[in-house]
């Protein structure tokens, strides 16, 4: 082990190369994960932020809120099967911030358990109050508690609350069902007669028999939270695409580290033969290579992590990057495992080195 550390210390330049390569890969993986997490969580907060177990949509909606509609009759019918404890409605609106910049707004009208339970500052607006709770990502646009958002050709809404992880695609604001309805009617007068129509209702239960009963009771379609998320058009594809890219990156990393140590082992064949001849066991020699690979991986992770976080700080506000500790931990674990696998490449090679080749000269 002392040998392995001495080598690290005295041949720093060579190890700097592998640390650099690992750091670059870790950097890529972290940035990609942050983008993936940001995209995914930014679009799925609407379903995750409440206490809902089951969402009910109208049939043929394909579990898409915009294509779904439930009138009060439907809601009554559903509530005869299970208590309806909340409702959701959404619309996309153009708006401006106090400093005049434009927002593409996702406005969510919500009630009961469909409202976000992640309000960290401020309060939920009263029914019909011209006020909203914003997803805290909107702060990056300079909108904050007390700001006023103006709907283009529509009302002004005061920000009275702040909720974490409550996004739905664009810049997300939440409000009461009444205010949601009033606001969208201003922009789209043809929807005027539809007070009381919501896009989905929320049940606390996730019981299968109840879901089946509702599905059979009328033109309804039920979904668990994860099914509702999976039905979001882009979220799942983006996530799996980014996961695939990250995994490929690590495959490359394993090959790079593996080749590096295989090359070093090849280059040190004579030295290893001498060490074996004077009585060092294969396991000790391999232990040294393993320790070096671990140190190189850990150092590479540290450098890549700092670099990724640094870039995260200067990323433009509209890039939805989210640096999650869980993702960093999983990248760390993968880096270390990759380093180990890379070192394993040279295990057999080291075992096969014949100490007898130390004798007989430079042949």
């Amino acid at each position: 082990m002392t040998l392995a550390f001495a080598e690290l210390r005295r041949t720093r330049g060579r190890f700097a190369a592998i640390v650099g390569a690992v750091a670059f890969i870790v950097f890529l993986a972290l940035i990609l994960s942050a983008l993936g997490d940001g995209l995914y969580l930014g679009q799925t907060g609407i379903y995750r932020a409440g206490d809902t177990g089951t969402y009910v949509y109208s049939e043929d909606s394909g579990l898409g809120l915009a294509r779904s509609g439930l009138d009060s009759e439907a809601v009554d019918q559903i509530s005869r099967i299970a208590p309806v404890e909340g409702a959701l409605g959404t619309s996309t609106l153009a708006a401006t911030t106090p400093d005049g910049s434009e927002l593409q707004l996702s406005m969510i009208g919500a009630s009961g358990i469909a409202r976000p339970n992640t309000i960290v500052e401020g309060r939920w607006p009263a029914d019909g109050e011209s006020a909203v709770v914003i997803d805290s990502q909107l702060r990056r646009r300079g909108v904050d508690l007390g700001s006023v958002i103006t709907i283009v050709d529509g009302p002004s809404l005061e920000v009275v609350g702040l909720a974490n992880d409550a996004g739905y695609g664009f810049d997300t604001v939440w409000t009461s069902l009444d205010t949601w309805h009033d606001t969208r009617v201003v922009v789209r007068p043809e929807l005027a007669g539809l007070e009381g129509v919501v896009q989905a209702v929320a049940l606390r239960t996730s019981s299968e028999p109840i879901r089946t009963a509702i599905d059979q009771a009328g033109p309804y379609q039920t979904a668990s939270v994860s099914e509702a998320i999976a039905a979001l058009p882009a979220a799942e594809q983006q996530r799996s695409t980014i996961d695939a890219i990250v995994n490929t990156t690590f495959l490359v990393a394993a090959i790079v580290i593996g080749l590096f140590f295989a090359l070093i082992t090849l280059e040190k064949r004579n030295q290893f033969a001498v060490l074996k001849a004077i009585g060092m066991g294969s396991r000790r020699l391999f232990g040294g290579v393993l320790a070096q690979a671990l140190i190189a991986s850990a150092a590479g992770f540290a450098v890549g992590f700092v670099a990724a976080r640094g870039v995260g700080l200067v990323l433009p506000a509209d890039v939805p990057a989210l640096f999650l500790t869980e993702s960093a931990l999983s990248v760390f674990a993968t880096t270390i495992v990759t380093g180990l696998l890379g070192a394993l490449f040279s295990f057999r090679r080291i075992l096969k080195i014949d100490p007898a080749t130390a004798l007989g000269g430079a042949t």
């Binding site: 033969a273 009585g279 060092m280 130390a358 004798l359 007989g360």
Partner: protein
């Protein structure tokens, strides 16, 4: 111990000597392509004896030395070092035995390039079973004796060829092994330096009561040995 020897003029060695080799044979390959590299070698080396192993190229010197050093499994025969028969040990036991009981000086690639002269000696503390303190004390003493006191903190690349071989001699001696095996130590040195290194080696081996075997091509080095073993086509003869 059997004594069926055709080529031997001296009585067979006993297991009491530092090194006792009996009827040692190595056949490489099989059938028509088989090569008998060493053919029934029997000899002994006493403690405080420095023996030269001389022979033309391809005669079996390296093969013989490898077997004696526990680096190559003989086809036949026994090798006793201080009472232990090397040929009965497992690979792992042999590795450990080498660490504690045999000192090697190789022709090249001897030293660990990223360790200083002193560290190339003290590394044996983590290889052999000897206590670190003892190895470190011996290392310092040996470096002085070998004229390397000033160079102790230099890396091999900062040392001359002769200095490097002296470091290698120090490493071979630092665990206080019973047997020292040396493989053409002068091959990469000019005559003057080579002579100095071999002289030093002979002095150290004898002073410390070691059994030493040195493979060499160079007849001029014979003058520093107590005795020469000659090998031709795998057959050993003593003089």
């Amino acid at each position: 111990m059997t004594t069926t020897l055709e080529t031997n003029h001296t009585p067979p060695p006993t297991t009491g000597t530092a090194l006792a080799v009996s009827d040692l044979t190595k056949i490489y390959g099989e059938g028509r392509t088989a090569v008998t590299a060493v053919d029934g070698a029997t000899f002994g080396v006493e403690g405080n004896e420095f023996v030269g192993l001389l022979g033309p190229s391809g005669s079996g010197k390296t093969t013989l030395l490898s077997m004696v050093g526990g680096l190559l499994t003989p086809t036949e025969g026994t090798i006793h070092i201080g009472g232990t028969d090397l040929t009965t040990l497992s690979k792992r036991e042999q590795t450990r035995f080498r660490a504690n009981n045999i000192g090697f000086v190789f022709q090249s690639f001897n030293l660990v390039p990223f360790l200083t002269a002193r560290e190339n000696l003290t590394v044996m503390a983590s290889i052999s079973d000897a206590p670190r303190k003892q190895i470190e004390a011996r290392a310092d003493q040996l470096l002085e004796e070998l004229g390397l006191g000033e160079r102790r903190n230099n890396l091999p690349e900062q040392l001359s060829g002769g200095e490097r071989q002296r470091v290698a001699i120090g490493r071979a001696l630092v665990t206080d092994p019973a047997l020292i095996l040396v493989d053409e130590p002068t091959a990469s040195l000019d005559t003057e330096l080579g002579t100095a290194v071999v002289k030093l080696l002979a002095r150290e081996v004898k002073k410390r009561g070691k059994a030493g075997i040195m493979v060499t091509h160079d007849l001029r080095m014979v003058e520093f040995t107590d005795r020469t073993l000659r090998i031709v086509d795998g057959a050993l003869s003593q003089e």
